[in-house]
């Protein structure tokens, strides 16, 4: 037991200070998660609209005309509006869900607790990053309600279409400018957030918490912060240049003599490829910003339910570091078709294949961890297994796409859509679900329903396979992506499969209502959670559920061992990282 005098930090008073403009990392983490929840619902509705239109292009969607009289006259989506929906779906999901929830949300809540700190290193900067993120989200969503509606140049906003303004189509006026401003703000917020994460990890670890003893989730958030620090620092100036091209008449990305909509654009000398390079130098690491927290969360949760230590803990961390490093050398694999030098394609293909090695090792370590284990099949454990499954399914198609000659055929098809939704979207979402079911007792002090959780898992698991697996076949059959309807003769036979995907998507989306219901009900009605319901070792389980304002009631824990002490380690089923709660028999 720690002999230090407890000096309890009093929480602030007043509703605004405790719930709205809070400096407490736990409240800010929950705010991020709430924002992500709103964003993911928005993004999912957009995907439904797209799927409905793809399956039944002529059928009007009731109520849609009110949202966009031009884009969906009579409730039927125009090709341009389809692209707008796609752009907004991608942007909202990648930035405001896959970055915000696993990294900013759970990271904010649990990183300080897991290293035994009272709060983040810079609470005010932390609060600022959340509010800037929220403003960025509002600016983006505002694009639905201005002029010609949201932009249509995709979440990648390829220049010159994204740079020339109104001539490029509806939504390319104010809508696209709002997009660029929103992403610039988002970059600022994430840079401040990453600064906070790194400083907190390096400087605020409690006594005994060496780097080697940090939980894997903390390691993953730390490494993700380093990636984010570099990636967002590149996207931000790129967006500033894009805004200048749009509003100040510069020509960073717009070439000379460009004619769009029969009008010569008054720009000269810019390089559209430059935007792609800058964007993907951010864009590929962004994939890992979305998925590495998931890696950490799975590595953190899986041993708890396997009751076995994680296999190869040092190898795991080495792999995460290797992935982070390599993620900066592969951006060109998004650009095989961009007209860049074919020799560069080879140059980018090799590290792309190399990065699959640490990713494969990580997967094998998880499988090795559950091998021979007596798994406790709780909902978070199921989502961990689901994560491994969808990550492998999505990852394997990556081997094909990494090769320029194959990618030339597949890049513009649904194969890529299936690939990245599995490996980045669904896998990261499964990480988020696992984290939610695992940590909800700690965050809200209440247990979520296991029965509902299992229903949610199985319906979602089957659903996502029904949605995304057929896309690989469609892609191999040459079904192009980004088309709003399949009117060509060779595409018509694919429509029945598209209808199947649409029905599966609606069904899978509906299954998420179970999750929402479970989440909201358990917040108020769930059975009270004990301090350590899962018998886990890391520091968040040494404090109360939910933790007090300063996390440990003024008694910073003293860490004696790593997080990996499960399954008969030194005679006990498990050993807590902080000595105080360790069973006496362990000594």
């Amino acid at each position: 037991m720690s002999q230090t005098q407890a000096h309890h930090h009093a929480p602030p008073k007043g509703f605004l200070r405790t719930h709205v403009f809070s400096l407490d990392h736990k409240v800010i983490g929950k705010q991020y998660l709430d924002l992500a929840l709103v964003a993911v619902c928005t993004g999912m509705v957009l995907s439904w609209l797209m799927r409905l239109h793809l399956a039944w292009p002529e059928t009007p969607i009731p109520g849609l005309e009110k949202l966009s009289p031009n884009g969906a006259a009579g409730g039927v989506i125009t090709p341009e509006y389809y692209l707008s929906l796609m752009t907004m779906h991608g942007t909202i999901m990648v930035f405001f869900v896959l970055t915000t929830a696993p990294f900013a949300g759970f990271g904010n809540y649990f990183l300080p607790i897991q290293v035994g700190a009272e709060d983040m290193a810079f609470p005010r900067i932390n609060m600022t990053s959340f509010w800037v993120t929220l403003v960025a989200f509002l600016v983006l969503v505002a694009a639905f309600f201005v002029g010609d509606g949201p932009p249509l140049s995709g979440w990648t906003a390829y220049a010159p279409l994204s740079a020339v303004g109104k001539d490029a189509g509806p939504g390319q006026g104010v809508g696209q400018t709002l997009w660029a401003v929103s992403i610039t703000l988002f970059c600022v917020a994430q840079l401040l957030g990453a600064l906070n994460f790194i400083t907190t990890t390096l400087d605020l670890r409690t006594k005994g918490m060496s780097l080697a003893r940090m939980p894997y989730s903390t390691w993953a958030w730390f490494i993700t912060s380093v990636i984010g620090l570099i990636a967002f620092a590149v996207l931000m100036p790129a967006c500033i240049l894009l805004i200048l091209d749009r509003v100040a008449g510069t020509s960073f990305f717009i070439p000379a003599g460009l004619v769009i909509s029969d009008r010569l654009q008054p720009h000269a000398g810019g390089s559209p490829l430059l935007w792609q390079h800058l964007f993907w130098f951010f864009g590929h690491p962004e994939v890992y910003i979305a998925i590495l927290p998931g890696f950490g969360i799975i590595s953190h949760i899986l041993p708890v339910f396997a009751r076995k230590p994680l296999l190869g803990p040092r190898v795991m961390i080495a792999c995460l570091v290797a992935i982070a490093f390599l993620s900066y050398t592969v951006w060109g694999h998004h650009m095989f078709l961009s007209g860049m030098n074919p020799f560069s394609a080879t140059l980018f293909s090799v590290p792309t294949l190399v990065i699959t090695i640490p990713a494969t090792i990580v997967t094998l370590l998880w499988i090795g961890t559950i091998y021979g284990a007596k798994l406790r099949f709780t909902t978070p454990a199921l989502f961990c297994l689901g994560f491994v499954s969808v990550f492998v399914s999505g990852g394997i198609s990556g081997f094909f796409l990494a090769q320029p000659s194959i990618d030339t055929y597949l890049h513009g098809t649904y194969f890529v859509v299936g690939h990245f939704h599995f490996v980045m979207g669904v896998a990261a979402m499964f990480g988020i679900f696992a984290a939610t079911y695992f940590w909800a007792p700690k965050m809200f002090g209440r247990m979520m329903s296991e029965t509902l959780g299992k229903w949610h898992f199985w319906l979602t698991f089957i659903g996502v396979y029904c949605v995304f697996m057929p896309m690989h076949y469609l892609g191999l059959a040459g079904n192009v992506r980004r088309y709003s309807a399949f009117t060509d003769d060779y595409l018509k036979p694919m429509i029945p499969l598209h209808r199947f995907i649409t029905i599966a998507a609606l069904f899978t989306g509906a299954a998420q209502l179970i999750f929402l219901f479970n989440l909201i009900r358990s917040r108020f009605r769930g059975p009270k959670a004990p301090d350590n319901p899962w018998e886990a070792t890391s520091l968040e389980w040494s404090t109360t559920s939910p933790p007090p304002f300063d996390n440990f009631g003024g008694r910073p824990p003293i860490v004696e061992r790593g997080p990996n002490e499960y399954g008969g380690a030194r005679g006990a089923d498990y050993l807590m990282q902080a000595a105080a709660a360790a069973p006496a028999s362990a000594r």
């Binding site: 570099i230 100036p237 008449g249």
Partner: protein
């Protein structure tokens, strides 16, 4: 602070690479002479750094205040440089070279203003009679200020060589 410096370095590195890519084989790249006042501004900024270093070692509020003044003088000097360029008919949208000039100097200027904000915060805490001197904050602000110095020297060299 080192982490913030890494992020800012990355931003300017990205812009540098953009400038190199955009500058190669660009027919609209117009070379122009940098306004001479930039060299005066450089001296001012270097002097401010030296003054701040002395201020940090002695924890002297008046030296920090002097740095604040010199920093403001630098920003004012940069604005004068912009006016001189504009007077020559070189605006943001005139040519790629002038565009990069404005973007780089403006972003650097914004970061300098941020540094001035930080120095203002340190001064406010130095002015308080009670409590320990804000050694850490002053140290961080000084480090940042030196970095702004180094960054400016780099940008000046880059601009002098490329535009």
């Amino acid at each position: 602070m080192w982490i913030a410096i890494a992020a800012i370095s990355m931003t300017f590195a990205a812009l540098t690479s953009a400038m190199v890519v955009r500058g190669s084989a660009a027919p609209d790249w117009r070379h122009f002479r940098l306004p001479p006042i930039l060299y005066f501004n450089t001296v001012v900024l270097l002097a401010s750094s030296a003054v701040l270093e002395a201020g940090r070692r002695r924890i002297a509020a008046h030296l920090v205040r002097a740095t604040l003044g010199l920093g403001l003088l630098f920003v004012a000097g940069q604005v004068v440089a912009w006016r001189q360029l504009a007077a020559q008919g070189l605006f943001l949208a005139t040519s790629a070279s002038s565009a990069f000039f404005y973007v780089l100097t403006a972003l650097h200027g914004l970061h300098v203003l941020g540094g001035l904000g930080g120095l203002g915060y340190v001064l406010r805490r130095l002015g308080r009679l009670a409590g320990p001197a804000p050694v850490t904050a002053l140290g961080a602000a000084t480090l940042y200020w030196h970095f702004m110095d180094g960054l400016w020297l780099y940008l000046l060299a880059l601009l002098a060589l490329r535009v």
